[in-house]
């Protein structure tokens, strides 16, 4: 399979903190993904509807009516978004928080501070990821 035939996958990054968005953008900015950004849950849902991303990275603690868990649940309960891979990326590291995340049917739960390398690994090896072929050599 040639690189040219590979379609750009859509990645949605949701975090209210500018620095975090920047970090994630840089981390996953090796050309594989078309990146979209939202600063709160409501924006996120709008983009989800519009863009139908393949991967969503959600911060949990955000201002507004919807937090990350709500968005996660909504996505996961939508039959049209079955293939979407949702990663909860959050500073909440307690066991109970993890359990809440799993209960919301997140595909992965990553605690900040996180290793960018590990995050890339996680997303690239997700089920349904097209990892035949070459990846960006930047990936360590």
């Amino acid at each position: 399979m040639s690189e040219a035939t590979r379609q750009a996958e859509k990645l949605l990054i949701v975090d209210d903190e500018g620095n975090m968005r920047k970090l994630l953008a840089v981390t996953l900015g090796y050309g594989r993904y078309k990146q979209y950004f939202a600063t709160n849950g409501t924006e996120a849902m709008a983009l989800v509807e519009e863009v139908r991303p393949d991967v969503v990275i959600l911060d949990i603690m955000m201002p507004g009516t919807l937090n990350g868990l709500d968005v996660c649940r909504k996505i996961k309960s939508d039959p049209a978004l079955q293939a979407t891979y949702v990663v909860l990326l959050t500073a909440l590291g307690q066991k109970s928080d993890r359990e809440a995340g799993l209960a919301a049917q997140a595909d992965a739960y990553v605690v900040k501070p996180f290793s960018p390398i590990e995050l890339i690994e996680l997303i690239e090896s997700r089920p349904g990821a097209d990892n035949r072929g070459e990846r960006d050599v930047v990936r360590p």
Partner: protein, 976 residues
Amino acid sequence: MLKNMSPRQHTLPYQYAAWLVLLLSISITIVIAMSVRDGVRTEAERDFSFYCDEILLKVQSRLDEHKQVLLGGAALFDASQSVERDEWRNYAQRLQLDEYFKGIQGFGFALLIPAKKKDLHISTVRSQGYPSYSIWPVGRRETYSSIIYLEPFKGRNLRAFGYDMFSEPVRHDAMSRARDLNMPILSGKVRLVQETERDVQAGTLMYVPVYKKGVSIETVAERRLALRGWAYSPFRMNDLLAGIVPENKSVRFRVYDGEVADTQTLLYDNLSQVSNDNFVLKAERTMDFNGRKWTLSFRQLTAGVGGVIDYSKAYITLGSGVFASILLFLLIRSFQNTRQNAQRIATSLTQELHDKVEAELKLNERLKLQSAALEASANAIIITDAAGVITWVNSAFVRMSGYSTDEAIGSRPETLSRSGKHGDYFYADMWKTIQAGETWHGELINRRKDGSLYDEEMTITPVLGELGEVTQYVAVKQDISARKRAEQQLRQSEERLRFVLAATGEGVWDWDIQKNQVSHNTRWCELVGLDEQAIVSDLDVFERHLHPDDKPVVMQRISAHLDEGEPYISEHRISRDDGSTIWVLDRGEVVSRDAAGKPLRMVGSISDVTDRKLAQEAQAISESNLRLILSNSPEGVLALSSTNQVTFCNDQLARMFSFQGLLSDKISTNDFIERLGSMIDLQDMAGLRRSLSTGSREGMFKIIAPKRVIQWEARELDSQELHTVLFFRDVTKDVQIDEMKSEFLATAAHELRTPMSSIYGFVELMLTRTPSEAERKEYLQIIYDQTKSLIKMLNELLDLARIEAREGKDFKFVSSDVLGVIRKALQELNLPPESHPVILEDETDSLSRIFIDEEKIKQVFINVIGNAHKYSPKGGAITINLSTESKDATDWLRIKVSDHGMGMTKDQAYKAFERFYRANTSGEIPGTGLGLSLVKEIVHIHGGSVELNSQVAAGTDVILHFPLNLQPMKGDVRYE
């Protein structure tokens, strides 16, 4: 035989008989008398009736007589051509009216005069020698009548001359009827013209019609035409009827005109003077004289001689009858009495005899009884003669002595029973006493027939004869061997007791209640502290040594034992003679009572129990102390027995769970858990049950209302009663604090993670990739900023923690000028004046010196003014205004920091002072979220307050107040 019968009873029926006869005979008499009376009355009535009839006949015949006279007068007219005055006169005189015909007032003729003939008539009569004659009353009438003849023509009768009777209604009526019926007619009651004022009587007139001769007078019309006049007679009633009823004042005879009898119609009353109208008999008769009815009324009056009905016959009958009855009665009674007397004598004689017999019988019985009693006595009895020879013994003696009755009688007592234990003087003394006639009483030892000895109590009583000499001796003896033995045993056991008591060291007392004497043994005296060895005294010694506080109770206990048999066991204090006090255990019992049950003797012992008592008291004190401590324990304590009953709970437990009466209700562990269950969460409940059943040692549960957290611990003890003890602690506050701490830590950690993430992430990226120079610079800048932020956060955290922990104790308060501090803060901030000019307004008149920690307050202003700058990203002036204010009776220094930045919402303003709260988390505006928390803490410790007003897109005001007084106090934060 003759029983107890009173003599009276026999004749009782007879007594009744006499009275009965009397009653009967009197009744009969009365009946007869009554019938006699009735007979008398009937006869009287009959006589009266006959009398009345007689009178009636008399009246009728009298009237008839007068009628005849008048008929004669009319006949004269019929027989003659004419009847002249003098002819009439002669006729009348011949009749000799006064003599033969009583009552006729006159004998006259009234002429009928038609009106047209009147004048002629008058003139004719006048010419006859009566010049003043006229017809009266005057008046025009159709027909006139006139009395032209009236004999005797004198006296009263003169007045009637010329009177027109026809003009008067009553007379007219009679005259008309006479004319029409051709009958003699009697008029109604009239007042005769002859009447003067004197002796007025009722009157009546009789008319007989006179017709023309040779004319038919069959019909009324013919009669009217043929009438010439009337022969008439006036009657004065009294004169007419005088003599009919003799001047007999017993009968009142009245005549009424007509059938109605009243004063109007009364014609005649023979007793007009008499007013008494009481009568015994009365009768009425009616008389009819050609249509004129007269009612004759007869009354037999009660007054007057012979006027009453003569009932004497009846009275005589009654009297004689009663008399006879009484005689009869008396006769019968006298018969009865005789009989009674005879009976009574007979009965009393028999009674005497009866009594005599009874007395004898009684005596015999008594004698029999006596000998039976003697015989039956448990005591042996000997009767001897004066010489001391036995004449009689009872069976008890036989039993006691072993000798038979035959062996005994004829022998002497001492021969039979002398034991040899007593000297001769003993028996001599006995004899001397009884021979002198005195009773001897004593104890001696006798010998039985078989030789065995026995103790005896004996009383010898001499029997004296009439002259005072001894005739017999009666000896009553009792075998007291058993008693003697018992006495000895008692003595022995008493001795034993004394030994025992001496050995045990108990004080002994022996109370003779009757004599009120107590003997106390040596040990008793020792205990009480007496010097004497052993004493006998009255109850006083005992009472004197009782402790005054205990004395009433002890005395009460003693009487309770004496009276009600309550066991006497008393612990009380004794005041010893040396002044010390000891506790004793005093026990006693009544050992003998008299026949009535009254206590005679009480014995008891006392022992020293001071040690034990003191120990008890100490224990009680320590127990109550413990109890006090426990009840004041802040922990709830609950003890359960091995059988799962609640045996103890302290006040705190009851308060903790708002239980009442845990102990009193005797509840089990399960009940307790049930009660708890209503207060705590279900899950906790299940957990608690599990813990308790599995023998867990501790646990925690939450109470729902009011919200509390209770921690419990269980301990197992060895006793049955306190098998398990549960301690409950209210850890609500601790839990809260823990939670707050955890929350804080969690939040802090979370906040720290955020900058860390950027740092870590970008560093890794830089290490694993080869970014461009520009990119690298960008990343490094981010790392740098985030690190700074981290450091600041850490510092602020530390500050906050320190301030909280130390509570301002390490603050250095100096008198300082706030304006100066603000200026220093501004210097450090170094705000760009172009975008953010600072305007300082001092309205305090330089009175802004207060006691503050300069460093801390500088920090406050750095934070507040820093915020004003941070949150006005588009620039804008920052105004700092200082003023003084008087509020709530205190003077304050007021500092307001205002900006024209982005402001915040009400929600953001509310949370502004919360730790780590940042209104803007986008990363555009740096901050830890701790700034205002720090400000709040510091201002608080200075006794001031801080508040925040804001409007979105307009700006924010932060207002600080500091008290202008000397001492800092705690304040609080207000939100707006």
